[in-house]
Every structure is written in C-alpha cells, then in structure tokens.
Amino acid sequence: MAGGKKKGGAKSAVAAARGAVPGKGKPWGTIIAVLVVLVLAVGVFGYAFMQISEKNAAQAALAQWQPSDTNKDPSTKIAGVVVKDYKSGQHVQPTQRVAYDQSPPFGGPHDGFWADCDGIVYPNAVRSENMVHALEHGSVWIAYNPDKVKGADLDKLKLKVQGKQFMMLSPYPGLDKAVSLQSWGHQLKVDSAGDDRIDEFISALRTNQYEYPEVGASCDALGPGQFDPNNPPPFDPSKPGPDAVPMTGTGASAATNEQQPGGGTPPSTGTSATTSPSNPK
C-alpha cells in the first residue's frame, strides 16, 4: 500500500507539518480545499468541453448539407427533393417558348439571356425561359404561390434572397404548393415558408460545383434589350403552343458563345436536331 511506504519515508516533512496542523487526525481544511479546487477544475473543464461539443455539433449539422468531394449532392438526403438530368446549353430566342416538363421548370432548353440572379426579389412573375438559364449558372430560384404566401411568410423568403448572391425569388401563379425551390436538375416543393428544408436545399445546391453545368458563370443582368431586371419579360401562364420548343431541344440552338446569346442565327422552323452533340456539359 502506498500509505504504508510513505510512513517510513518523510520524517522531516512530518515534523514540519506537525507544527502547521496541530494534533488533528483528519485535516478537514485541507481535504475540503483540495476537493473545492478539484470540483472547480472539473467544472471549468466540463464547461469548455460542453462549449466545444455544442460548436462541433452545430458545425456538423451545417456541414451535413454542404457539398464535398465525398458528398457531392447532399440534397439527395432531403426528403422530397426531385432530381432530373437535363442537357445543358440549349438556347431559344426571346420570341420562342419551351414546352417544359415541370412546373416550375428546373432544366432544359432556355432563353439565351439569363435572368438576373444577384439576390434579386422579383415582384412579378418572370418568364420561365430566362429563369431556367439562371439555374444553369448555379443559382437557386425560390418560387411561391402568390395566393398562399404573403405578409410575414413572404418576408421570411425575402430574407433568404435579398442581397444574397445566386438567389432569386419570384411569384409563380398557379403553383401547386406554397413554395417551390429550383436549382439546375433539382426541385423541392414545400407547404410552408418556414420549412427547414428550404435552408438545407440552398446550402446543398447553390453554386454546388458538382451539380450545375456552368461553374463560374455570372448572375449579372445584361440590361435593356437583353434582360432588364427592372422590366423583365413576364411569365406566360398560357399553355405552350405546338410551335414551342420541346424538351429534347429540337428547334433550339446550341450555346456557342454566352456573349452572343441565341447563337446569332434564329432556328429555321421545320429543321430538327439543330442541337450539337458536342454541347458543353
């Protein structure tokens, strides 16, 4: 036993201590002091440990929805996300319409001029053909049903968009749910502007380099005559006619140069397969 050994050892220390602690068997003062110091130390350590654990947990919760090399598309773990594969780089003219397969659309042929996506809140519904092009540039488009989302709910959505780059917000008349989020090839429809999945979707897909076709593309508007954010082309609620460009892209032109949207030559009606197979993905 340790105690036994020490007995023989420290005679001089004993003598010194005897003077300090006069004739008492149990040095309660010392024991209490030691215990208090230990409890304090444990308390400080416990506090620090809790702080770090909380911070790590918060970071892990955020990181869960951040794309990485090992988790390229975190949105696949969000309940309700629809993922579709669309061919990119197919442009139509400002006068043309696309017969989109989804409402709101989140991929497919689109206007050569992209919608402004510099954290912009559109008060009125915008032509889908322009909005889809902005998705191709890495933005997230929050569409809402103007009959269902108003007031404080709408403010909640605005807060996520206003001044936040690669974000757009616009009403979408006739939307089957309150809110619908789009990024290129991804969609999530939710019933409330307060749904937690909205932020998860944004975190997972906004400028997610693994999931949008044109990494590095701009959200800036080109201006009047091209895309004027102060006077954007309006949403067309009518059904696309038989002359609309189908999802296959027949009648669209390959995007050869983003500086000259539309490729310069309007597609001649009747010709098919004007899209080049060498479109950049």
Binding site: M1, A2, A10, V14, I31, Q66, D118, F166, D220, A221
Partner: protein
Amino acid sequence: MTDELDEVAEEELPTGPVSATTRVLVLAAAAVAILLLGAAVGLLINLPGSGASAGNPGPGSIEVGFAQDMGVHHQQAVTMANWARDHTQSPEIRQLAFDIQSTQLDQQGRMRGWLMLWGQPEQSPTGRYMAWMAGPSDGMAGMPGMNGNQMPANGVDHMPGYATNAEISKLQSMTGPDMDTYFLQLMLRHHLGGAPMAQFAADHSNVPAVRVLAENILKSQGAEVDLIKQMLTARNAQPLPMN
C-alpha cells in the same frame, strides 16, 4: 483517491503519516486540477489552424471568413462595374469600370479557389457576415473588443459599403452622366466599406496568400478611392455616407 482518503481517515496517529499522505494528495490533486484547466484552456482557445482538417483553415477561421465575405463583397463590385462598363457613354468611366471589374473578378476567383481547396462553401452558411472579425476565441466570443473592435460573435447581416437591391436597381434605371455619378458614389462607398475586412485579414491571417491578397486589395483600392474622389469632384458630386 477515495481509498487513500479513507486510509488517511483510518490513521489515528496525530503525527507524520497523515501529513505526508496529505501532502502527496494535495500535490496529486493540484496536478490533476492543472491538467484539467490546461485541457479546458486548450479546448477554448482557437489556436491558429485549429478546427481545420489536413492543415486547412476551417469554418469560422479568419481565412475562410475573409474569402467568403470578401468574395460576396467583390461580387457586387463586379456587378456594378459590369453594368457601368456596358451602359456608360464616358470613356473615363468605361476604363475605370473595366479595371475594377477585371481586377475584382480575378481576386474573387482566387478566393473561390481557396475555398474549393479548403472544402468550404462560397458563401457563409449562416447567412451572416464578418463573424470571423469578432475575435480569436469561439468559447469566449461573447466578449467584445478582444481585437479592439465591437464585432458581435455571430457577425452582422449587412456588410459596410454593400449596396441594397434598391440602390442597384436605381443604378440600372439611370442613364448618361447621372448613372456615371451614381456609379462613382456607390463604388467609392463600396471600396471604403470593404477596407476594414481587408485590413483585419492583412493584420491577423497566418496564411501568406490571404495576407498578400488582403494587402493588395487595400493598396489598389486605396489608389482607386483617390481617383474616384477626384472624378466625383469634377462632377460636382459628394460621396455617399457610409451605410
């Protein structure tokens, strides 16, 4: 430990052994307490490079915060300069706008490249800005002024100099000399507002590339600030107050 305390209690001798054992116990307890406190300090202090994997700056670090927030700040300068370059009638404005647009786009590309290599998102996931300027310690981040500033631990929702949507929209609705002047006013405020972020990174980052870029931003934008002030004076216009 309790065994030893019990043993001490059992020793009825009022002499030596109790005191010797007590001394050992006190020393042992002191050692344990010191270790615990040391571990706590270690956990709380955000040592340079801590919270990082593979030596990369991690979330909340000065480097990641600077690259994310300055990236967003730069992006707006590029937007404004792009617009001015495309829509001005003035060769002088077009030249300045081209210079700002191309320089800041390049700088932004560097910052985005770092973030990509560090495995961090291009924009802060919290949606708030400049929290990385609050101080070095997350555990004690409630204390303001640790670096001589009053940045709240969770940052702010608006960066100085960053124009509102309404201001951008106004710029885009203007034409001619009016637009030129407003562009100069917005850009001057933008440059001045971004400077404290660059200064903080230049002063506090441990990553040379980050420091060098931050210092570069201060230098080149400092010269541009003087130029823009002259151009405003030539147009009989005043700078905007900081927002």
